[in-house]
Symmetry: C2
Subunit: 298 residues, 2 copies
Amino acid sequence: MNETGRPQDFPLSNPRADRVRDVAKLAGRPARLKRGQFLAEGPQAVGEALALHQKRIAAGEPGIVREVFASGACLDRHPELEKLAEGTNARLATDDVLAAMADTVNPQGIIAVCTFLDVSLEEVLDAAPKLIAVLCQVRDPGNAGTVLRAADAAGADAVVLTGSSVDIYNPKAVRSTAGSLFHLPIVLGADVAELVARCKERGIGVLAADGYGQLNLDRLQDENAARRLGASAAESAYALEKPTAWLFGNEAQGLSEDEIALADHRVAVPVYGEAESLNLGTAATVCLYASARSQQAP
Amino acid sequence: MNETGRPQDFPLSNPRADRVRDVAKLAGRPARLKRGQFLAEGPQAVGEALALHQKRIAAGEPGIVREVFASGACLDRHPELEKLAEGTNARLATDDVLAAMADTVNPQGIIAVCTFLDVSLEEVLDAAPKLIAVLCQVRDPGNAGTVLRAADAAGADAVVLTGSSVDIYNPKAVRSTAGSLFHLPIVLGADVAELVARCKERGIGVLAADGYGQLNLDRLQDENAARRLGASAAESAYALEKPTAWLFGNEAQGLSEDEIALADHRVAVPVYGEAESLNLGTAATVCLYASARSQQAP
């Protein structure tokens, strides 16, 4: 920051500059993998990235925001971002430069280059997680981001993506998380069989979300509520308050038979109408909230 | 159908023919409104459209499929569609023609021209509905379709869109419903105030889904479960098994204060993590399933 309170008043103005192109390349996977960096676009995502960055710096850990580029108009509309960007490598840029850097048609005036956030499975498991969402072969970036956002809302402790899933650092996936990517630990490139074995070692139950599952999620919730409220002494088929990893499958095919066979139970969200199924994001939300409700109940 | 079992073996092959252009125009709202017709694309949507068409014809009602265009390869993969299309105005078409007709890059070999399906609010209310999803100022076709699909899965009796909402006959909205558009009655162009007044006259409770709502949906479900299971004699703030219309708002702004004021209660899906909120599709799913669970409970 300089004395006017603005990151270097002289804005980047050449959309064809190498520096601008380097940022734009992060919309592609090869550049992301090579540099270990990805893009956050728009005030919400950049705000969450900066908040996490400052929290880490304050804790003596490495930050996660490498560069911020913003228009003056955006900083006028969002003065909180200017404050959050203090001490970071922030620059003003013209709308042309921001448009050239961004994956979106409308980058909303601010872009940050962030370093990869993913952690190891070991790190997640060592923190004694109660709720984990596992995405197996999920292909659509919007779906992956939606599930990550729902996992965050349900208070999940981590999201794990298998090696065959979409890249969560894809700009569309980052957008769909609505900032949740910066809220909870993510593990990438996991092997489902290994993950399940590690969960079981630590007493974490594994449920496969599967439209053809033999356990009905609503009945399971009723059984759990009855037991919790003392209205029934019967054990439910699965105690939802238990630490749980939910496996969610590919949007078109669901989980493979091999993946399902790894789980303790296959659980279906019941369909009361004529729909063939729910879509991935909505089904995952109902499952994660069922666990959260039981885990959070007094 | 001719004797070879194929709708007119000689396929439409000129992608620039007037007939082809007329179909393609239905991707735009003016042509849809003028003709009262819309497009269903792909085997799933066309299959559901044809199933509804045949059901209506069998009941002595007017059908809803005006024309079907399919490639021979698609009918080879989906012989059930050929059977469903019997008696309809079906034609073979080349891939070029189908691509020219379709809104999607990949129309999956089959397209149907359907007549508008929406019914009047009166017709819906006369059928004594137990669960209605109301979309207020929802702008994104994908979101509208996702909520409609979730409403179908939750066994809702109808979906109502206000006049300020996106056109549900938009091809992207139709796709997002995954066939559910053909499963339950829809009402278009509703006025929220009038709708709420009519619901209240008939004893249908009105809940506003609102992140800032004073009622917590999970607590409400627990209270209802406790009462249902005899673990508590206390009245819950709202009996979820009651016939209910849920109001869902715009994806960015939520419901307006005026809309919220019309409802009996404003209800929030609790956020247990750091996410600011759920997205519209996932929040609506959790709300509709909460009602469905209570309504379906023994």
